[in-house]
């Protein structure tokens, strides 16, 4: 009898207490979103227009959150719509979006690179964007990058690509071809002026890709519409293998070393021990700070033509779970995609702007040089199959650096591994 009475009493008390707490506790997180839309049609007349509780939420990383914070003040002032900018670490953004979006707690707009598209679009997390006539104002390669299966899913902000850094005190003029580059590097090394004439850090496929294109190699072929085709793996195409042979030759002649990682490569360039390196705009701050003289130029051309680096495009994407898709899209097309705001963003977050009126007027020689080096670049494939490529391809490059496989074997094996993974292994 007694335990039952206790349970009963406990239950009664529980109910009373939870009844007392619940109404106070629950409204805060759940009700505002549901109340707002239902109220609008019925009670609107008495409300002043600016009081409509509308808010856009933007997720941006550590670097861009302050930029958007600054810029969106003008939007709030002009249109009476609050913009909340939340700083979300770059590495966490996708995973958080995957959880928060479907739960209805995600942002309206996220800022990120275009190669997130494959994973986000295939999971249904992004809404297409219609830029209308504003399309003309963006770099077409950047728009192409944000196009997935024929639909545009992002508004580009800026482009990033690697280029050739060289030390003008050691190399008077940037070499135009890879042959020339090898000659210059060899000369500098034999004269003892530098330890390495030219460096790409070991085992990295991304920085090696432009050279692969200079030999006619590719990663994925494209179909008639320009979409990347995962059935056409080009890692073992004749061009790619020719590039791998060039790499092997550079290692054999002692120009490239298996022991040079990203950090060592930059340190050597900054100390004047390396005359030329391939790196991206993210290395600019440290190179500038070191005080070494440097210049940025195109990556030298090869037998198949110009070197075409991967282009990464950063931009704005609209969440499919945004509660106000129209407003989110309008924020981008009507407000952000204007010369004034894009120029402001460019000033706060320097990088080759993807907005042509701003891009064409870039005065900073380095940024302009990066933009030029990326002029004929290729959008980094955003298809989900790309994730099968990095590990296998990077390993192949490493094995050539370490001289443990012939270039032919290494790249053929990588292509085979990639095809197996795409088939579902």
């Amino acid at each position: 009898m007694k335990p039952k009475a206790l349970v009963l009493l406990g239950l009664v008390l529980t109910l009373v207490l939870s009844a007392a707490c619940a109404p106070k506790a629950t409204p805060t997180p759940t009700s505002p979103p549901t109340i707002a839309p239902t109220k609008a049609p019925t009670e609107m007349p008495t409300e002043a227009p600016t009081k409509v509780p509308r808010k856009l939420t933007i997720w941006a990383d550590e670097l861009r959150a302050p930029v958007m914070e600054e810029v969106s003040k003008a939007f709030t002032a002009k249109y009476g719509v609050d913009v909340a900018v939340e700083m979300v670490p770059f590495g966490d953004m996708r995973d958080r979006l995957k959880v928060a979006g479907p739960a209805g707690e995600g942002p309206d707009i996220i800022m990120g690179p275009h190669d997130w598209l494959g994973e986000l679009v295939s999971s249904g997390l992004l809404a297409p964007i219609d830029l209308g006539a504003k399309k003309e104002l963006f770099l077409s390669a950047a728009l192409q990058a944000f196009t997935y299966e024929g639909k545009l899913y992002g508004m580009p902000q800026m482009t990033e690509n690697v280029a050739l850094f060289y030390n003008p005190k050691l190399v008077a003029e940037a070499p135009k071809t890879l042959d020339e580059l090898e000659k210059v590097a060899g000369q500098l090394e034999s004269e003892g002026k530098v330890k390495y004439g030219f460096l790409i850090h070991a085992g990295d496929a991304y920085h090696f890709f432009p050279i692969m294109t200079a030999f006619g190699g590719y990663v994925f072929g494209r179909d008639a519409q320009g979409n990347y085709n995962p059935q056409d793996v080009g890692i073992d195409s004749p061009g790619s293998i020719a590039a791998a042979e060039w790499l092997d030759m550079m290692v054999k002649r002692g120009h490239l070393s298996k022991d040079v990682d990203w950090e060592v490569m930059h340190t050597m360039f900054q100390d004047g021990k390396a005359a030329m390196i391939i790196s991206g705009p993210w290395a600019l701050p440290r190179i500038k700070e070191s005080g070494i003289s440097y210049a940025v130029s195109k990556i030298p051309a090869g037998p198949a033509g110009e070197a075409r680096p991967f282009i990464g495009v950063r931009g704005f994407m609209v969440s499919a779970f945004s509660k106000d898709l129209l407003l989110a899209q309008t924020f981008l097309t009507e407000f952000v995609a204007t010369e004034e705001i894009m120029q402001r963003i460019f000033e706060l977050d320097p990088g080759a702007s993807a907005f042509l009126p701003v891009r064409e007027r870039i005065k900073d020689p380095d940024t302009a040089a990066f933009a030029e080096a990326g002029e004929n670049g290729l959008a980094m494939p955003a298809i989900p199959e790309m994730s099968t490529v990095w590990s296998a391809w990077g390993d192949a490059v490493t094995l050539i650096y370490q001289q443990r496989l012939s270039p032919d074997e290494a790249f053929k094996k990588a292509a085979e591994q990639i095809r197996t993974a795409i088939k579902g292994g």
Binding site: T14, K258, L327, E334, P384, Y401, T420, A421
Partner: protein, 536 residues
């Protein structure tokens, strides 16, 4: 005690019982009620978000707490309950959830639940063929009603109100004022023309309205465009399918694959989460990843775990023994200094080591180069890389073992050593026959813990050389220092559809089983040690 009395008297007298019991149990009930109220609120939130697994875990915890606190004979459990709560929440729940995920297709492309996927797909719109698009201008009445003035591509103009047929209107008619220079009426009686800026202000409201009469309603698509957009996919419960209204195609829900597929095999994006049974396990078994480098990776994983535990223990014990000797000067200072590697965050130490070992610029390598004219290829030779990882892990791990052994050494009674000395045992015999066996009783389980930890020590492997150098002959990308968990990482996040959590969970489950079995065996052996201690 009181309860016994109540029962002994036979008849249950409610009033007396409550008067007597309430002051005694009131605080407990109050506390329980607070916990329950919190749990209910939490559950309510979780159920709204559809987080079933965590809801179940929370329910079990809440129920358990209630039972424990209401049942007198479960009294001892009251003290254990916080620990039990954390065990359910931090150990049991993640393990069960991982095992569950192993049986789903959860991953990129199948992230959403079915209702969520339907919601996303039902948002898709299409423009019927031949339907014109319009430039729009909105007019707003003081009471918040809207009218759209539409200009079609061919110059045709329409006036559209919500739920009334859109009509052609000439200026002067129907309260419409004269056209302005832009070809749009300056005013409509009762309404005020919205500027572009004002249109953005009211866009949220405008966007929700459908102008004109169904089914030919006109919706605003962008700030510059409105058209007869129609919802493209409609979910039909009876058929369990999405119907494409533009083409009439029916996409049936394939609940074994988690996608909507048409009869000709066309699948809609996104898919949704479903249980796929043993599919992930079959895929793992059939995968060349298993036939290829798996065995080598597995052997190295075990070797890495064992050697890490052993080496850190040997060095830790040696240092503990040295600093246990009162003859060593400044013992405390040395001991404190030696603990420093333990205090520095692991990933920082690892990166510093990577820098120091670098053959081109690293301090250690360049020093060796100058002294011996040779330095090990720390990052490109399979064996030297393995040695390098073990070296770094030794640096990270020995302080812990030193601390543990120092403590355990204090617990060995001095009489044993005195007796041994009288019996004429040498220092080595004393160590081998007294110190080590007695030490292992207390340190043995920690060694197993150390092994299990290093079995899954992703950070050291990944930060040191990302599992490299790569195996030249592997059928799937793998490295010579890859352990199972870093190999899993490569497999799961380098699959054809990006991140494949279901598959990753499958491999994790398998690894979990392997570790569990090895640990169970290990504990058997520690029982052997305990028997030794009893006989000593």
């Amino acid at each position: 005690m009181n309860t016994v009395k109540v029962r002994a008297r036979g008849a249950f007298r409610p009033l007396a019982f409550f008067l007597e019991a309430i002051p005694r149990i009131a605080p407990r009930l109050l506390g329980l009620a607070v916990v329950n109220a919190f749990a209910l609120w939490f559950l309510y939130q979780l159920v709204i978000d559809g987080v079933w697994f965590l809801s179940a875990a929370i329910s079990i915890i809440a129920l358990g707490i209630n039972v424990i606190f209401l049942r007198e004979h479960l009294y001892p459990f009251r003290w254990l309950s916080p620990g039990l709560v954390f065990m359910v929440l931090m150990v049991a729940y993640p393990v069960l959830f991982t095992v569950y995920t192993a049986f789903t297709n959860y991953g990129d492309g199948h992230l959403l639940t079915k209702p969520q996927a339907i919601r996303v797909l039902e948002k898709e719109q299409y423009l019927p063929e031949g339907a014109p698009t319009y430039q729009w201008t909105a007019f707003r009445s003081p009471s918040g009603e809207y009218v759209l003035w539409l200009v079609a591509d061919n110059g045709e103009t329409l006036l559209a109100r919500p739920s009334e047929p859109a009509q052609k209107v000439t200026p002067g008619q129907a309260d419409v004022g004269p056209l302005g220079e832009d070809g749009i009426p300056q005013s409509i009686k009762g309404y005020q023309r919205l500027s572009r800026v004002d249109s953005v202000r009211f866009l949220s409201e405008l966007g929700k309205l459908a102008f004109g009469q169904a089914p030919n309603t006109i919706k605003i698509n962008t700030l510059d465009q409105a058209a007869q957009y129609q919802q493209q996919y409609v979910y039909d419960k009876k058929q369990n399918a999405l119907v494409d209204r533009a083409t009439g195609t029916v996409y049936h829900a394939d609940d074994t694959e988690g996608v909507f597929v048409s009869s000709d095999g066309q699948a809609l994006r996104p898919g949704y989460q479903v249980l796929v049974g043993w599919e992930n396990f079959q895929r793992l078994l059939a995968s060349p990843a298993l036939r290829g480098p798996f065995i080598r990776v597995f052997i190295w994983t075990v070797a890495f775990g064992l050697l890490s535990a052993l080496l850190t223990f040997v060095l830790g014990l040696f240092l503990a023994l040295v600093f246990d000797d009162p003859a060593v000067p400044a013992r405390k200072l040395f001991r404190s200094v030696l603990v420093i590697p333990y205090a520095v965050p692991g990933f920082i130490s690892i990166l510093i080591w990577v820098g120091m070992l670098n053959p081109e610029l690293g301090v250690i390598s360049t020093a060796l180069q100058k002294l011996l004219g040779w330095s090990p290829p720390w990052f490109s030779d399979p064996w030297w890389t393995k040695a390098g990882v073990l070296l770094v892990n030794l640096w990270l791990g020995y302080p812990y073992m030193m601390l543990v052994c120092s403590g355990a050494l204090q617990a060995i009674p001095d009489e044993l050593y005195e007796a041994a000395e009288i019996d004429g045992a040498s220092a080595w015999q004393r160590f081998w026959n007294i110190t080590l066996p007695l030490l292992l009783i207390s340190v043995g389980p920690l060694l197993i813990g150390c092994f299990a930890f290093n079995f899954n020590n992703f950070v050291v492997i990944y930060l040191f050389n990302r599992g490299g150098p790569p195996m030249a002959d592997a059928m799937t990308p793998a490295g010579h220092t890859d352990i199972l968990i870093s190999y899993t990482f490569r497999l799961a996040f380098a699959s054809r559809r990006g991140a494949d959590f279901g598959y990753a969970a499958t491999i994790t489950t398998v690894i979990f089983l392997v570790v569990a079995i090895i640990t169970a065996f290990n504990f058997r052996y520690t029982k052997v040690w305990e028997e030794v201690s009893e006989s000593v």
